[in-house]
Symmetry: C2
Subunit: 485 residues, 2 copies
């Protein structure tokens, strides 16, 4: 339940970009990756609202990411409010509106809540300062303003939109009325705006009463409001998620919240924020946010630099060293299945690498080796001509479907935790170091009845080892024949 004076955060985490490839991929986008520190950006966003003054967050994400969301929240000990599944990406306006409406409909008798719309794919290192900024905006929001947050610029950035304020912000950081939104500028214009002091970067964060947001949509974007209302009315609960109705949601235009309502709304105010923010829009931006040594070298993982300057070297796996020698203004990101090397000033072109790999049909373009499923995750350790070895991790209480295969046998060896294994008519518990054989054609299931993750090594042998050789008899996640996992 929401306390009357709590702000209700809405965390957006359905987006996916390509400019932080290979760390961020379509199957596991930027907000879920460990870009800064050992928490994902999504976890950092959720933890930002874990402090007092905030209700449990409402989360909007895509169907493919729903189990990443639940796993990452569990890791940091945060219990979400509603987790809303958008059937397809339609930019920010439909997603935000759906979350606001879902929040209101969940507590129809509660007072009009103040909501905070928060993207999860950027960095705000100082959570306390951010909490202060939210507090500074509260009164204005309570009086009917839509409060946006403007980042004090420290360079004439041409990659961000700006907010033009009616006056220079005061030292108290109190809200200032917004004059207008400014599109990404040319370099000259960016320098002039930086010098003026009346222009702040648009961080895409909003604080407002739910009723005022809905009213703005009713006024300026009724074509968004109607289908989103229908998609929520026809939404379907699914294992703790709330799935918006796909047919209705598809009728909403794909439009950003700025274009749909914010740029037309007369009641906007800006809270200035100067404690550090980055959209981490490309590897150059990541280099700016990571700690660097005296030579401007930022390292992460088992990476090392010899005579390098102003360079980012990221080794994303403990088992893979990355060495740069004599590099200047370069980026190198190493993962076990993909490596990127580029000058910093070509950081925007990383999407070309993804396009190239997609055109070649290489799976590294969009997917990580680790595959997340309702029950946990797996990764292929080695794929041979007639065999495959997988590591499978099953969450406590989770179960794979009851299934059989036409073309392969499987050996399962439990190496951590406890498994409950069904093979045809026999059910048995396997502890660490116990194994079982699943003959070709046998009906089988793997479950984790325990309280800790169960780790199992699976050795498959057979003439065809594709994920689609699966006959499903029963699935607690209600997936069909040939579906994966």
């Amino acid at each position: 339940m929401t306390e009357p004076d709590q702000v209700c955060p809405i965390i957006l985490c359905g987006g996916s970009g390509t400019r932080l490839w290979p760390l961020s991929r379509k199957s596991y986008p930027k907000q879920f990756a460990q870009i800064l520190g050992d928490r994902s950006l999504f976890q950092q966003a959720a933890l930002r609202f874990g402090q007092g003054g905030f209700a449990a967050p409402t989360i909007v994400t895509g169907s493919d990411f729903r189990f990443i969301v639940t796993e990452q929240l569990a890791e940091v000990g945060i219990r979400p409010g509603t987790i809303l599944i958008e059937p397809e990406p339609r930019n920010t306006a439909p997603a935000i509106l759906a979350a606001v409406l879902a929040l209101v409909s969940r507590n129809p008798d509660a007072p009009d809540p103040i909501v905070l719309i928060a993207p999860s794919d950027h960095s705000i290192p100082d959570s306390a300062a951010f909490g202060d900024a939210v507090a500074r905006g509260r009164a204005a929001a309570a009086q009917g303003k839509i409060v946006t947050f403007g980042i004090t610029p420290d360079r004439p950035e041409t990659g961000y939109g700006y907010l033009e304020l009616a006056a220079r912000p005061g030292a108290d950081g109190a809200p200032v009325d917004l004059l207008r939104f400014v599109e990404k500028p040319e370099a000259d214009r960016a320098r002039a705006m930086l010098a003026s002091g009346n222009f702040l970067w648009n961080a895409g964060i909003f604080l407002a009463r739910a009723s005022d947001l809905v009213a703005a949509f009713r006024q300026d974007a009724p074509d968004v409001l109607a289908p989103v209302e229908r998609s929520l009315a026809a939404a379907r609960a699914d294992l703790g998620f709330l799935r918006l109705d796909p047919a209705a949601f598809a009728q909403a235009p794909s439009i950003s919240v700025d274009y749909a309502v914010m740029e037309k709304a007369p009641n906007l105010a800006v809270v200035p924020f100067s404690a550090g923010w980055s959209d981490l829009g490309d590897w150059d931006a990541v280099w700016r946010e990571q700690p660097t040594d005296a030579d401007g070298v930022a390292l992460s993982g088992p990476a090392a630099a010899i005579d390098c300057h102003d360079t980012l070297l990221r080794a994303e796996s403990e088992g893979q060293v990355l060495i740069g020698i004599g590099l200047d203004n370069m980026i190198a990101v190493a993962m076990p299945d993909a490596v990127l090397v580029a000058p910093k000033d070509r950081a925007q072109d990383v999407k070309k690498a993804v396009d190239l790999l997609k055109a070649r049909g290489q799976r590294q373009a969009e997917t990580l080796p680790r595959d997340y499923r309702p029950w946990g995750w797996y990764e292929t350790l080695v794929l041979g001509p007639r065999f495959q070895v997988k590591r499978i991790v099953v969450n406590p209480g989770a179960a794979l479907s009851l299934q059989s295969h036409h073309h392969r046998s499987e050996h399962w060896i439990v190496v951590e935790g406890t498994a409950r294994v069904t093979v045809d008519d026999k059910v048995q518990l396997l502890g660490e170091n116990q194994s079982v054989y699943i003959p070709l054609g046998a009906v089988h299931r793997m479950e984790n009845p325990g309280k800790v993750p169960m780790v199992l090594i699976e050795v498959q042998t057979g003439s065809y080892l594709g994920e689609d050789d699966i006959v499903r008899y029963d699935d607690i996640y209600a997936r069909g024949q040939g579906a994966k996992g």
Copy 2:
């Protein structure tokens, strides 16, 4: 047996350098790596002598590389003559002399053989042209000359030694007398030598009668001759290898054949060779030898270049893509456990990367994930807190030692070929898709009784998984307690 008119090749493959890290490592040096094409440089050297006119090669290598040598020769279907093990690296003079003496002692009644001393860590793409050059040198060698091969230079290289000829080589490529050896020059001197036409690169390849080489050592390097003779007299046959006596060999000075005898010998002639040669001394040299596109980009493996120029991009594993964007005169080499990025003109500094990793105690400095043993090889697929998964490949007819462990149990699953498995008193044959469990403490052995390699997945569980937890009861390779494998 050697035909009377055959040249006897001596292939040197005991060396190890650091400048082609990460592909070349101390445990698996350059000559055994696939640097150009899908054969190693050593295999290419052996195949060069696989044509008519050459006897089976005598091979000199280090103890750590002996099974790499036999496996790589088997792969290309070459049966070696003697494989001589040098107990420790003592530069080229003792190794060459030992091989010459071993060759003579093997056929004491045969006529004085003509030997060809051939390093295996360089590239000679045109084997036929090289065969012609050897043929051009034969008569001179038969008349008592020590024939060396001089590479026609195509650039003022400062990284090689030169040979000064008594006259400009003729169009017929006939041997020319050598005036003197010239050390690696300064740039000015290198340009002058290139312009003169009387200077060729010293490739370190020699053709001579065995008796003339031994005589040269007797004359100019008796301190090498005496201990090498003793080390050969006390040599010990071991599984098809001939191990030089370590105590005697250690008394030979560590000296190159050039310093020990060649620079003092009065009877040297040079056969010019212009059909292409490279010592592949660093990644810059490799870039020069690999095929490049119109932009000077050389790619190997699943690597791709976007807007790159004069750049080498090598992805050494099929499972790892490497993408370069906007690179100029750069080198990037990606392996699953190590990645190197450097400008081409820093190629000589790659050894600094190896030094740095050694100082940090990181195994990537010197060893590859794949570990070669008398019986085949293994690699770790995943190492967890209390488990490890390995892929083990056992050569036909080979056997691991009879052993037990104090701290781990093992599950073995055969995925290719057939295994004969001993567990305590029980011996059984396992085919593809069969498995066996080795309890902690059980005495066990794995053998491949078949005609094709046997591939097995081993899942270990236990509190300590180090290679030194091994009690050995019997070993066809005569290794002791705690020795690996």
